[in-house]
Symmetry: C2
Subunit: 368 residues, 2 copies
């Protein structure tokens, strides 16, 4: 962290905050290549999850309303602090807005200086897909070649590309209750040379696949997958069941094989696991990535990754985007924190920025 | 909120986030006048505290390290969500950095769109002083004319100006263990026509004053004020005791009169009250502002306001700054959230922002 700190690079300002806008992140991704970015974020996630115990972790802080939720997700190690702001509003599409929008910050633990403000709407899709693929690489059968994608919304292309890039998945079986979403996904997959096939229901899409990814957006307790749809050796990547009252898997699907999650205290509240008793066994995925717990035990076993999204993934993704933007020399800055000539003279900062008109008005205000 | 929503103003973008930089906020304050801004924020704070039960409140979320703390402070009502990022690093002055740096966000509860990102380092000083003055106006003797200011750092000018503007305080008794801080405060007060007098210790500064404000930065359990220094009829405005392990008042000072706070669950952990048993009586200040509880009962009574800073004050201050920036037509925007042609086609946003070079690299990456 300290090597890339703008505190050292920018001698003219003691406090400098980098900014990555949505358009700038799109440019960075286009320059680097989306597949390369997903692989890069996956590598950063693996690196960070392997040192899980270095981090000060907590469940996210949520403000719920009738139509959605706004959450803050902080995490820190000894040198770097990160947080993400993210909403979830399933009906947003009605006013042509994304269901999920996000931005995030990296900060210096030693001084509290915010080092980077970045968009995370696009980046969250990358990190969620990267995390799914990292987990699947540790849990799915190594000979997996086909994946069902149930839910063909904003996240689906990223899941497909992550599983193609990191696991070599070649065939994607697609289903969404919105046929237009599947049209869009088919077109986007074709554009990057991936093979998608449309199915008329989830059951037929899942049939015969090595991996099943559920990434639906409906804020309700749904049962996208039932036990009779699950075949021996499948890996289930449950992405869309990610907040209280929002599930995708029938409870009995979770009893068909070992269940893995990110951060247990959060997943028991938010994941598909919210349906299970408090003592239902679950393994945090970092233990598998760090090599202390074995993932899959046999080719016949069913494995289940109950993803909800954890702050550490955003920490990793922010780190990656900062590093790539620096490498490509695409960094901008914003003035979020005042640079004070004397840190005890905040009042003096106002005087420094007083023009002729400002001085007059201030004098009038003081006299009033 | 909805009247000022950029969602309605900016027809070309469905999602638009306003940005107020540190310099822009300084310009806004200079144009409007610092005294007017403090009075304006105080009015917004009173308005919001009087409808206390409209808000979804929680204690702030803190990540502590050996040298400081980084906190997130969210709050929301039915229409508007706000949060503040703020650090506290007492040793920052050694590297010429402010002890406290902050920024914050207003967001739309109905859609989750972040509407405003603003600096809050300067604004926090304004809102803290405004909150102190709002509480003192409800608790101090109406004939108060003098105030001791113990601690002459970054916050002190704002406290002096707030008490001058909102309570008519004319004389300020100053003390700080750093004589240079008092030099700075004396010069700044003279510049705005306020009368400060230097004292050689806290005891002599406090003597004979109507109001005593403690706003020291040391992260320790200090006893700036002891019971023998407190005179009948005084109002104590304790600002600097604001996190676990950081207090300014001797425990027995808190027993000399009724104690008022912002949000009880947070103040019991962070305020000077952290020294007291869990059943020690305290009154949330909103009850006094809303008229349901009487503040001061007699001219002889000692009153104590144990301030720690609460998210709702930042909500009010962000509202005020947004409104004044709009009134002065000084609003900028940043692109924090991608504007998607189709909200389910996040992937398509990347293609829209692909230049010739980007397309080539993306094609190479896809082929790799």
């Amino acid at each position: 962290m300290s090597q890339n700190s703008p505190l050292k690079h920018d001698a003219g300002r003691r406090v400098s905050t980098q900014f990555l806008s949505a358009e700038r992140v799109a440019e960075v991704i286009n320059k680097k290549g989306l597949g390369a970015c997903i692989a890069g974020v996956a590598a950063y996630i693996e690196e960070d999850f392997r040192r899980w115990n270095d981090f000060d972790k907590c469940a996210r802080v949520a403000n719920h309303s009738a139509v959605g939720v706004i959450e803050l997700m902080p995490v820190a190690d000894a040198t770097t602090y990160a947080f993400k702001y993210v909403n979830g509003h399933p009906a947003n599409y009605r006013q042509q807005l994304p269901t999920v929008m996000a931005f995030g910050v990296l900060a210096d633990v030693a001084s509290g200086v915010p080092l980077l403000v970045s968009e995370l709407t696009i980046t969250t899709a990358i990190r969620t897909a990267a995390m799914s693929a990292v987990a699947a690489r540790a849990l799915a059968r190594p000979d997996s070649r086909s994946m069902a994608l149930i839910g063909n919304g904003a996240q689906s292309e990223f899941q497909a590309l992550a599983f193609h890039r990191l696991l070599g998945i070649e065939t994607f079986h697609l289903f969404d209750i919105d046929a237009g979403a599947t049209d869009k996904l088919l077109a986007n997959l074709a554009g990057i040379g991936l093979h998608g096939k449309r199915f008329s229901d989830a059951r037929s899409a899942v049939k015969g696949c090595d991996i099943v990814t559920t990434v639906t957006a409906d804020k309700s307790n749904a049962t996208i997958l039932t036990p009779d749809m699950i075949e021996a050796g499948m890996h289930i990547n449950g992405v869309g069941g990610d907040c209280p009252g929002k599930t995708e898997l029938h409870a009995d699907v979770l009893r068909m094989g070992p269940v893995f999650c990110e951060f247990e205290p959060q997943s028991r509240i938010e994941g598909d696991m919210q349906q299970m008793p408090a003592d239902f066994p679950v393994t945090e995925i970092w233990r598998v990535l760090a090599g202390s717990v074995r993932g899959r035990h046999s080719a016949e076993q069913v494995t289940i990754y109950d993803s909800v999204g954890f702050a550490l993934e955003d920490y990793s993704a922010l780190r990656y985007m900062r590093d790539v933007a620096a490498e490509l020399k695409m960094t901008e800055t914003i003035s979020l924190i005042p640079n004070l000539a004397n840190p005890k003279n905040l009042f003096g900062f106002l005087a420094e920025h007083r023009g002729a008109q400002g001085q007059l008005l201030a004098a009038l205000a003081a006299a009033a």
